[in-house]
Amino acid sequence: MATERYHRGVVYLLVVLLALPVLGTLIYSLSERWDATVLPHGLTLHWYTTLWLDDRFLMAFWHSLVVCLGTLLLSTILIVPAVFAIHYYFPRLDRWMNILILLPFAVPPVVSSVGLLSLYADGPISLVGTPWILLGCYFTIALPFMYRMLSDSLRVINVRELVDAAHLLGASTPRAFWAVILPGLRKGLLASLFISFSFLFGEFVFANMLVGTRYETLQVYLYNMRNASGHFTSALVMSYFIFTFALTWMAMRISRQERT
């Protein structure tokens, strides 16, 4: 049928459009030279081996991992009890929380960097230039996703009654939380962690403005390599893409499992 062909066509076109930069970068990263001719010259893994043997790259990768995983740990420790507290102790605040957690969206990183730079550059709390400040900033980036997904997981179970039932059977509140509520949060938490990880891994503004080369993350390294060979940066970009694609894919798999 004509309409079916049209819809298929549009979807394929959309996918090709979105895939074009990735494919271009992939081919570029695998070719030896591609500067004057229409088609690339020579297939090689040379750029990838150079990249993955570069100490500065590995260090930046390591820094990114440390900052992202550290943030996720911090966020989990702060957000999971907070979501539970909202649902169990202050259910009426849930509405306000849903607005509050969107604030980091309303303030672009460039804007809050202005405040952060003046607040924490020197004086009593001197965080600028250290990875510590990124933990705090990245917490605000992860917050909307993590809070929403965890809150949704809690909304489908009756937190109050489950904890009440556990109390009557002799469990303390922390024990009830650990044995009854937390297991229900596991998948939502895992999915939101993967999603947040891929977001944080791609963060550039805070990292570049607040820390820069003093604790170079992958994105900042990528930017600082802008004058290197295009093939080399392509390999770098592709490595990053593949890494985040894998993470997003896993996040989607987990959240799909949760729904069924």
């Binding site: 109390h167 002799g170 303390s172 009854v180 229900g184």
Partner: protein, 335 residues
């Protein structure tokens, strides 16, 4: 000394009284129903007894021990929630074992007690199932087993049958009663269903707008309602105001007269026995074994229930009849 003593319970939320002046005593092994319309405060009262909601005033003693301020964990009270509150991440066995594990009992003891409880509620074969895979009736029985296995001193049931369909409700009702009798367990059952209350209870506490307005056996509450609210809630009483009483019966009273629909007797229109009241059938409704007539007598609308004995006896709309109401079936109710 009574087994359970509740005195002066009161609770309000931000100026709205949920309940006040709640006083009652229970004997060991008694089955009591808190009956009342939704919003009368009965569920909150149950949660206060369990220690899940704090009281504003009052005292709560069980076996002479004051547990007004005890934490829920230390009260020795079991509760079945309306939503059952089964832990979704645990199997049937794990749910039932939870309270025993909190008591740090040996694994062997836990296993044998769980097996006993599963047998008690007839859930053999479902030990490894998760709550999501169970039917409503099965979930209800898991919830019951979970609260019974820790051997509570008092069992609280918060409308445990309201989410089930009529047939399962009736069989579970009997099962709950059997188990309660066997364990001689002091039980407080909350419901808004008068049939449930009448069939289950040793005593019924009728609650209305935050107060217990009548305490008594099923028969007393049903036949001798203490006030208008109880009369309205129990059965389909004909409630006559002062003016209607004068019109129909020539009686002068201040409050209301309550007449149960099944005590009014019908006679043929040509019956000349003295004391009969002429009436006209306005509407009839066949309920199976009972026929419910709406009649009008001397300008007063009445509802009458008759046994449906023979089809030939059924009256049609517009038929004229004579009524008889025995004086001992008239109940004067305080306003």
């Amino acid at each position: 000394m009574s087994f359970v003593e509740v005195s002066g319970f009161a609770k309000s939320y931000g100026g709205n009284t949920v309940f006040e002046d709640i006083n009652f005593v229970l004997a060991r092994g008694e089955f009591v129903t808190l009956l009342g319309p939704s919003g009368c405060g009965k569920s909150t009262l149950l949660r206060c007894l369990a220690g899940l909601v704090s009281l504003d005033a009052g005292q709560f003693r069980v076996e002479g021990e004051d547990i007004t301020y005890a934490v829920p964990q230390k009260r020795g009270i079991g509760m079945v929630f309306q939503s059952y509150a089964l832990f979704p991440n645990m199997t049937v066995s794990q749910n039932i074992a939870f309270g025993l594990k909190m008591q740090k009992l040996a694994a062997k003891v836990v296993a044998s007690k769980v097996a006993e409880a599963i047998e008690l509620v007839e859930l053999g074969g479902k030990e490894r199932a998760y709550p999501a895979a169970l039917s409503g009736g099965q979930r209800q029985r898991v919830a019951l087993a979970r609260s019974l296995v820790v051997e509570p001193r008092i069992l609280l049931l918060d409308e445990p049958l309201s989410a089930l369909d009529a047939r399962i409700r009736r069989s579970l009702r009997q099962q709950i009663l059997d188990i309660q009798r066997r364990l001689d367990l002091t039980t407080i059952f909350v419901t808004h269903d008068q049939e449930e209350a009448l069939t289950l209870s040793d005593r019924i506490f009728v609650m209305d707008r935050g107060r217990i307005v009548q305490q008594g056996s099923a028969e007393t509450v049903y036949t001798r309602p203490a006030n208008e609210a109880v009369a309205r809630f129990m059965g389909n009483y004909n409630l006559l105001g002062p003016q209607e009483s004068r019109l129909l019966l020539g009686l002068d009273i201040d409050g209301h007269l309550a007449i149960r629909p099944e005590v009014i007797r019908l006679f043929a229109a040509d019956d000349v026995t003295p004391g009969l009241i002429p009436a006209t059938v306005m509407h009839s409704q066949l309920l199976g074994n009972v026929v419910r007539y709406q009649v009008e007598a001397k300008g007063v609308a009445l509802q009458i229930d008759c046994l449906n004995r023979r089809a030939a006896d059924l009256l049609s709309d517009g038929n004229r009849v004579m009524l008889h109401i025995a004086p001992e079936d008239l109940q004067e109710i305080a306003p």
